[in-house]
Amino acid sequence: MLWYEIIGIVMIIIGAIFLFLGALGIIRMPDVYNRMQAGTKATTLGALSVIMGVGIYHPAWIFKTGIISLFILLTNPVSSNALARAAHNAGIPLYEKSVVDKYAEDKEKIRAEEEKQNG
C-alpha cells in the first residue's frame, strides 16, 4: 500500500467513528437544540473526513471531493441554524435544566422592530 492510501483509510475510519458518535448524540441528548449540537458538529466533521479520505485515496478525485466538502461545510451549519430558529419560533421549549434563554427575553423586541422595518 502507498503512503497516501494509508492516510486516506485512516481518515475514512475516523470519519465513520464521528458519524456514529453524531448519530448517538441525536439519540441521547434531551432536547432539540442539544440534539442539533451533536448532530451538526459531529456529522459535519465525520462526513468531511470520509469525503476527503476518499479524495486522498484517489488523488485524481481530490478537486471534486474538495468541492463536495466545501459545500457541506457551508450549508450544514446554515440548515441547522435555520432549524434552530424555526424550532424556537415554533415554541419548542428548551431542556428543563437550561440555565438561561436570552433569545426568548428579546424576542418581542426583535419582532416589533422587524415589523416596523417591513412597514
Binding site: F18, L21, G22, L24, G25, R28, M29, P30, D31, Y33, N34, M36, Q37, A38, T40, K41, A42, T44, L45, F63, K64, G66, I67, L73, L74, N76, P77, V78, S80, N81, A84, R85, H88, L94, Y95, K97, S98, V99, V100, D101, K102, Y103, A104, D106, I110, E113
Partner: protein, 162 residues
Amino acid sequence: MRVFISTVVLFIVWVILTQSFDPQELFTGLIVAAVVSLISPAIASDKPKKWFQPKRYVYLIIYLFYFIWEMIKSNIDVAKRVVNPKLPINPGIVKVKTKLKTNAAKLALANSITLTPGTLTVDIHDEWFYIHWIDVSNCDDVNRSCQEIVEGFEKYLEVIFE
C-alpha cells in the same frame, strides 16, 4: 467589473467539476458562467477591490487551519459528552455582540460558531448573535466571558471580509 469577478469564480468551479480542458467544454463553461453572472446580480460582489488584496487570502489560509483545529477540538468535546453516561450538559441561550458589519462576514462567523466547541447560532439580529451554548459558564453581564466565543474568529474575519 463586478460581473467579471463572479464569471471568473463560476468558471473555475466549472473547470473543477468537469475536469477537462477540451476547448469546447471550456467555451461552453465560459458562456454559461457569463450568462449566469449577468442575470443574477445578487451573487456579484459589492466592492470588487476587495478581491485584489493578497493580505485577505493569506489570512483566509491561516483562518482555515485555525478553524479546522477548533473543529476537531469541538468534536472531541461533543464526543466526550455523548459517550459519558451522566450526559454532562448545562445548556442555555446567551447573546453576544459582534464588531463585524458586512453580511458575508456575519455568515462566516455564524457558521464558524456553529461548528466549534459547544455553541450553535440560533438567530442574528443586527449586531447581536443569539447562541445556544451546551455548557454555559457564568456570564451575567453581556460583555464578559461570552465574548470569548466570537473574539477568536473575529480578528481573522475582520481582515478577510471587512
